[in-house]
């Protein structure tokens, strides 16, 4: 398709125009609607309504008392937040002094000059930067050699299961962290689900598992973990240099992962085809599911019946956590990472106050307080800082922290869901095709072939194939060096 765009003008000229506008973006938008730059002692924070929001809001009075800065926090749904942020960036109006940034948005927001890199703030302050796990900073915050934001709630993925059901049915329990995991393959995982599915326990019929099948984001979040375990790459070369966005959606690894995912869905309640993140978790906490894997916040969320209800769920004392299964061919495990950081819009007039809040909210002390904040039950263990995983008080409340740590250490958010500039569009296509696979509307092969064609069209349409702008060799090692440099400075 894109090859026909030329018509007289060479692609190179087009792209020059394109990148020039992109680079000049922040300048133009400021001209279009000059932001009224006036520092004040009130900062506005716009965030998604994930569990961390409630914990952060709970401990917020301490910050206000400590610093005299008043904080207005507003929470939105995921889509609502995204629309608000894009509209404020387009207008050049600062809508907030701090925003919660999905790890997927970091790159795109940095490339457009929407986020203020915080390198200098970090270098000029003492925030124990190297306490953050490098895998987290790499996956969430590092972009083209700069730090775009700081992590406030970080998620990995892991397995939750019901030891009581496993025992009653005489099924071998999943291994624990530290055990040899080579036999704990996705095939073995599915075999256990098959043994559970349809059995009766405690007067109910138990389903093997539950999926989060709603398109686009939930199903992509879940599926990409299986794909990542099998070493599936989205693009020919990204984020390592030189960037090449030729899609690899129809690779054998992805076909295999999709077949496994379909098998898991077939061992789940059929209606979970439409479950979003939380529906899947809630279903598990109702008690008729044997085992599932999901984002680590569900390690604590499933203890409650309903979100922020404070009512204990049916399985509160009856579940255990386990590491994710591995690929049967010995591929090195990669755990999908996702979650939220705090970032500073470049046009905010209160950057100093915003930084104070950012360093406070992401500090070990505050994160610990959030973890111990107990209004609706303890509901925050999404730590990006290594030291908190050794904290006895936190381990008492969240006994699975050792497992969670291992998951993070195997984590790579830029591999499981690469933050390409048009991630949302790609996720929409991918989610739709995955939904078609699960519902049986089309076969794994057809869907993934189609995904690949559609990806290629869209990437060409957005001038990402061939990629002619600047690449950056984005690696975990590079992030570690950057962290050492900033911490030392």
């Amino acid at each position: 398709m894109a090859s026909e765009y030329k018509k007289g003008i060479s692609r190179r000229t087009l792209l020059k125009g394109a990148s020039a506008t992109a680079i000049g973006a922040s300048a133009t938008s400021l001209l279009a609607a000059p932001a009224i730059a006036q520092a004040s002692n009130t900062i506005r924070i716009l965030t998604v309504e994930d569990p961390f929001f409630f914990a952060l809001r709970g401990v917020l009075p301490e910050f206000e008392a400590e610093t005299g800065i008043k904080v207005e926090m507003e929470s939105l749904s995921y889509g609502g937040l995204q629309a608000r942020l894009i509209s404020s960036f387009v207008a050049g109006n600062p809508d907030a002094d701090l925003i919660s940034v999905d790890n997927i948005w970091n790159g795109q927001m940095m490339d457009n000059g929407w986020l203020q890199p915080v390198d200098e703030f970090i270098a000029g302050d003492d925030i124990d930067f190297e306490d953050f796990m490098p895998e987290v900073i790499y996956s969430f915050n590092a972009w083209r050699g700069k730090i775009a934001s700081l992590p406030v709630a970080t998620y990995a993925q892991g397995v939750m299961y019901r030891p009581d059901i496993f025992d009653a049915l005489g099924i071998e329990a999943p291994p624990a962290v530290g055990d040899d995991l080579s036999a704990w393959t996705w095939e073995a995982y599915i075999e256990r689900l098959q043994q559970i599915n349809g059995q009766s326990f405690d007067g109910q019929t138990i389903a093997g598992s539950v999926v989060s099948g709603q398109q686009p984001a939930p199903v992509v979040h879940m599926f990409t973990q299986i794909a990542a375990s099998h070493g599936m790459k989205w693009f020919k070369n990204f984020p390592q240099a030189p960037w090449d966005f030729e899609p690899l959606m129809n690779s054998p690894e992805n076909m295999k992962a999709a077949n496994l995912f379909k098998q898991i869905y077939d061992l789940s309640p059929p209606e979970s085809l439409n479950y979003n993140w939380f529906d899947a978790g809630t279903r598990f906490s109702k008690g008729d599911i044997g085992m599932f894997f999901w984002w680590t916040p569900y390690f604590y969320l499933i203890r409650n019946d309903g979100y922020m209800s404070g009512v204990p769920s049916a399985i509160k004392e009856k579940y255990a956590t386990a590491p994710l299964p591995v690929a049967s061919d010995g591929t090195k495990q990669t755990v999908s990472l996702g979650g939220w950081s705090l970032g500073m819009p470049a046009n905010s007039a209160n950057q100093d106050q915003a930084w104070q809040f950012m360093r406070w909210a992401t500090s070990a002390a505050t994160q610990k307080k959030m973890g111990l904040y107990n209004e609706f039950g303890y509901q925050f263990s999404d730590f990006g800082r290594r030291s908190l995983y050794d904290d006895p008080e936190l381990k008492e409340v969240y006994p699975y922290l050792d497992d969670q740590l291992v998951m993070f250490q195997q984590g790579d958010g830029k591999f499981s869901r690469p933050p390409s500039p048009i991630y949302t569009t790609l996720e929409g296509i991918y989610g739709l095709q995955l939904s078609k696979i699960l519902s049986g509307q089309s076969s794994v092969e057809d869907s993934l072939e189609e995904t690949n064609v559609l990806f290629e069209n869209v990437l060409k349409g957005n001038f990402l194939i061939p990629y002619e702008r600047d690449s950056y060799d984005d690696t975990l090692e590079g992030t570690k060096e950057l962290m050492a440099k900033l911490a030392g400075g």
Binding site: L14, G17, A32, I86, G213, P270, N274, K436, L454, N457
Partner: protein, 286 residues
């Protein structure tokens, strides 16, 4: 003088309508992804139109949209007419029924979406239970989750909301038919069905044509219900043109493709409208 009186409203509406249309026309020839730049990025001719029309879901969305609007309008008209006839019978309490019947139509479509999402819920919704009691088989994925029933479920919610509208309007129409006409036909031995279809409906043709068109168009533009009930899924089985447009513009933020899509939809609508107006409104007096 009349033009002076019309001017304020026409000016404002022209501004409010023309701006988006020209905006969309202009940008439909540009590559512009809001996630990459706040300004249009490069002129690409008809590239956006190609992308919009060649996407694998366009034909499906068009098919779904037509199914929904034609099917929905027809069912609502038939059911509404039946209820209108029922309301013309002398029965106790019929006035109360007529007054309360309109309630579904007063509700915001988005709220109807919430209501039916609750009714349809696969784990404990009222409707699956009712169907089960009546021994009507249900798809295991739930009414909204199955690709065979998702679109029908959206249509059903719309039928629930708008059948009363047809019923009430047709009822008023039927009452306005002069008794002399009906009596004359009865004397000629016409059956009730013949009286209804040959005498009464032709007399109220004007009303019928207007409400059919209004509903067809509203159904064609259905968006709130899809957003709340299925988001076009599973797969693309309940995706409508309006929802595709929403996704391209306000989820993917690809303004270029969304603009092209806008024009495609506007053109389709105008063709349908023009044909309808030509056929139905030829002999109107204004």
């Amino acid at each position: 003088m009349p033009w002076l009186l019309l001017a304020p409203s026409i000016t404002l509406l022209l501004l409010l309508i023309a701006f988006p249309l020209f905006f969309a026309l202009y940008n439909s020839f540009y590559f512009w992804n809001l996630q990459m730049s706040p300004q249009p990025m490069a002129f690409i001719g008809f590239g956006n139109y190609e992308q919009a029309l060649s996407s694998s879901t366009f034909m499906l969305a068009l098919r779904n949209t037509l199914l929904l609007s034609i099917g929905g309008t027809a069912i609502q008209f038939a059911l509404g007419l039946a209820i209108a006839v029922l309301l013309t019978q002398t029965l106790r309490g019929v006035t109360l029924v007529r007054v309360l019947l309109i309630m579904p139509t007063t509700i915001a479509p988005i709220v109807v979406g919430f209501l039916f999402r609750y009714l349809y819920d696969a784990n404990g919704g009222l409707l699956p239970w009712v169907l089960q009691v009546l021994f009507i088989p249900l798809p295991p994925e739930g009414l909204l989750g199955s690709s065979t029933t998702a679109l029908m479920s959206i249509m059903f919610a719309d039928v629930w909301q708008w059948t009363p509208f047809f019923a009430i309007v047709l009822y008023a129409g039927l009452l306005s038919v002069p008794d002399s006409l009906v009596e004359a036909a009865r004397v000629d031995g016409a059956s009730r069905w013949t009286i209804l279809t040959r005498i009464k409906l032709p007399v109220i043709k004007r009303t019928v044509l207007i409400i059919l068109m209004l509903r067809f168009m509203q159904l064609f533009n259905t968006f709130d219900l899809v957003l709340i009930l299925t988001r076009g899924g599973p797969g693309a089985s309940s995706r409508t043109l309006s929802y595709s447009l929403y996704q391209q513009g306000l989820i993917d933020f690809n303004i270029g493709v969304a603009s092209a899509m806008t024009w495609v939809i506007v053109l389709i609508l105008n063709v349908i409208l023009a044909i309808y107006i030509y056929i139905a409104f030829r002999d109107w007096e204004w």
